[in-house]
Symmetry: C2
Subunit: 503 residues, 2 copies
């Protein structure tokens, strides 16, 4: 294993991921328990995700706003399920000043600056936002409100993993207010579809869309929709959720409006969010033992150009050619965005080192440019996902690459889709189900019947660590929609649901 190397996936998938994230300069651990530093290379992925999602939110009529970081403790107490879900792992602010410790040993919270009411760092913003919406909404003419915010949130997780589960994370949270149940339902479904489209078209990650069981839904929701991805170790990742909150928060915060008919009614709500967890999902879905594999739409570097030559005169020639190619590529557009190019002029590193380094950092393709290539009027193009190197005439590089990047995007999606299909199975007996999940490795998506009760769900999870990932909105195959017998209890089941071990 070279200094660039990471533990192979086959040896230890968890080590592979953790090492890759750090070595590919995506994120780093911080001095604060469970909090990460998102490094520039990783943050660039998040910025591309933000741009893509934000455009989709605005195209569906949403606007951005910003609500406070702090949630008064009493707000959390108002919605009964919500407080159950979030009070157990939150950061509590109790003082607003430090002072010198009289014993001279540093700083202590100043007892005279104790807050009258503790503040919680938002784990999510429903309570703060609904307290505000109550002021803003009087009449049906104030509806709908279609607001999103980009923010940081904190949930005091005990076991963390870079990007996938951190105490502080970055996300967006949409919070909408509607006059009717049907309108809120349409909104929740629309945003689920936005998330599905983003996961599949930008991240090249196929996802199942479905309903969460009562046991897995958001604390305070009427019902929760989700997108569920499957990554290379056959574990599921909940990649995004869209909640129909019913009138729960409106009732907790007294948010009423006068309808067109002059009646006083409670407002219907949705909320929906995706987070920096998407970065982890993308990494886990596509990357390999050489490092990051990033789909072109989200790759911080799409093209790495490595001009060669030890001799200064040779180098001057290849550098000049590399800069010219870079300029041509940057002037070209893929997915309506200038191509993201780096020219690697590090003089102390060998070409071989640079090839490995750009594979580690997930450049979608590499252009090798040596003096003999220039003499022949060609460059070598190597795709990140392997295959034959291509010898491309210099004059055709731009057209070659503007086609190669979308082709790579499609290949990554197809590969992930085939993997998911090969990792999805139907099981009809408890013995088989239990055996699948008792193995050290996760079995992928297991599509099986369930009697629909929370009790059975809990029992299955207790026995196997499998959770119900979702009740699919449309059957994965037609027979999934047929009734059957619960895998554990044998009681009647309306349709198959999807089980997996999950991150």
């Amino acid at each position: 294993m070279s200094e660039l190397g990471v533990t192979p996936r086959s040896k230890n998938y968890s080590d592979w991921y953790n090492e890759l994230v750090v070595k590919a300069d995506l994120a780093d651990h911080s001095a604060v328990r469970g909090c990460m530093v998102i490094k520039p290379h990783g943050y660039a992925i998040w910025e591309l995700m933000q741009r893509g999602l934000d455009d989709m939110f605005k195209a569906t009529g949403h606007v951005n706003a910003y609500f406070p970081l702090f949630v008064p403790k009493s707000f959390l107490e108002r919605e009964a399920e919500h407080v159950e879900g979030f009070a157990k792992e939150c950061a509590v602010v109790t003082h607003h000043r430090l002072k010198a410790n009289p014993d001279g040993s540093g700083l202590i919270p100043d007892p005279e600056a104790k807050l009258e009411e503790e503040l919680i760092i938002r784990p999510t913003s429903e309570t703060v936002i609904w307290n505000t919406y109550t002021k803003w909404i009087q009449s049906y003419r104030d509806l709908p409100i279609l607001i999103n915010q980009w923010a940081n949130v904190v949930r005091w997780e005990m076991r963390t993993r870079l990007f996938l589960r951190t105490a502080e994370f970055l996300w967006q949270e949409g919070h909408t207010a509607h006059a009717t149940y049907d309108e809120a339902e349409a909104e929740a479904m629309q945003m689920l579809e936005v998330y599905r489209t983003f996961a599949e078209d930008f991240m090249a990650v196929p996802v199942l869309t479905g309903l969460k069981s009562e046991g897995e839904k958001f604390a305070g929701a009427d019902h929760t929709y989700c997108i569920e991805a499957l990554v290379q170790d056959k574990r599921a990742i909940q990649a995004g959720t869209s909640h129909h909150l019913g009138q729960n928060f409106a009732k907790a915060f007294g948010t009423q409006f006068t309808s067109a008919e002059g009646k006083l009614e409670y407002v219907y709500a949705t909320s929906w969010g995706v987070s920096t967890r998407l970065v982890g999902t993308m990494i886990m879905a596509h990357s390999d033992d050489k490092g990051l594999v990033a789909p072109p739409r989200l790759a911080p570097v799409q093209v790495a150009i490595v001009p060669m030559g030890k001799d200064p005169e040779v180098r001057a020639r290849t550098y000049e050619a590399a800069d010219k190619i870079a300029a041509e590529l940057r002037a070209a557009r893929v997915y309506d965005t200038p191509i993201r190019v780096k020219v690697d002029k590090r003089e102390k590193e060998s070409p071989g080192f640079k090839y490995n380094d750009w594979e580690l950092h997930g450049a979608c393709l590499r252009i090798e440019l040596g003096p003999r290539d220039l003499d022949a009027g060609t460059a070598v193009v190597a795709m990140r996902d392997g295959g034959e190197k291509a010898f491309v005439p210099l004059g055709e590089l731009v057209s070659h690459i503007t086609a190669a990047l979308p082709a790579l995007q499609d290949r990554l999606y197809q590969k992930a889709l085939e993997f998911r299909e090969a990792s999805t199975q139907r099981v009809d007996t408890w013995a088989e189900f239990e055996a699948l999940f008792k193995a050290d490795e996760a079995p992928g998506f297991v599509v099986a019947h369930w009697d629909g009760t929370e009790e059975t769900e809990e029992k299955i999870t207790e026995l196997t660590k499998a959770t119900i990932r979702c009740i699919p909105l449309k059957p994965l195959q037609p027979s999934d929609a047929e009734p059957g017998a619960c895998i554990l209890t044998g009681k009647p089941s309306q349709q198959r649901v999807v089980f997996a071990k999950a991150y």
Copy 2:
């Protein structure tokens, strides 16, 4: 005063500002002391600011990253001046869980979930970032590091004002690391120039660039540069700062590197930031008694189209024409960005109400479109800053408006510049100085001699509430650079400095 109206500036400038911010839907007070809700219309201004600044940061070689919200208490203690500056007004996290109060009265911090070390919500991120950079920097080849982050920060301010001073605010903070003093100095000056350019070209607010006095510099800096604006009540606003931190944080966190010559040296640092305070500065600089005046580069709505007609058939005609004009304008570009247009089809409001409402909300110009205008093949264009209404042939609207918007941008800048120049005076006697600042109203920029000591600075502030806004980098007029006698003590002074009452 109509329902859209705000208190006139001449009557009470402070009320005018506070009412304008709320009535123009820019921001709202929240339930949490000192924290604001940034409403979509106000957040759109911040998004435009972010886009403009981020482009300039990237064009000067910076990349974005993200560091944790939490600062361990011990980090704050490491840099002596820094802790003095920030320990007194910070949010302190002491627990990581709430639990039900045994007396049944709600939630309390769980005593079993008390943190071993308290965490501070970042008031600024130098300590967290330098703790990280110490891990990242070994050799001169790791330098420079040129990182920016967009984040929220908290300073527990006692007296707050929407946008200008809030407990939580949004900002960007650049943190760079360099091998030499000169390189760090060049960086600090470069970013000051970026801020000056942004303030003048985007915000249309002329600013002074200067050095802060020792008493006003950033806690932990070697020296601080700033941009200082003057708003309509002749008070100054510190709109941005760029700090040369010397080796202070490197020494506090042990950040050393091996130089090209093989010597172990401490790293030099800069940090620089602007915040949502810029939104308040922009509002105060240009707005009037009718509401928000926003420079076109930062106006959420550049063109408001008001199609008229009570009769449904007439309305169908004007609506169709309005939509067509809107589409043409959105396809055109001003400042390399599609023109931001709204068509106002509210049927229950009169044209007059809509005119006032768009003036309140700061649309740069308004197109009035009635049936007689359509018959004549023209539209009425009214600029937000007044003057004659123009009757513009429909076919010329796009070219008229693509010229009118930059012209408005320039007019706003010129007007603000003239105001600042008319509000700047030179004073040579203490009696005159004291009289100017004793008045109820602020006198603007007062350019006077000072003996350069912190003691005199404090005395002047104590006696007059005037503060030294900056020691200008270049004299406002040549004679300002000549030596003289301190306004208070009569001791020798090297150059004139700028005093003002400030927000």
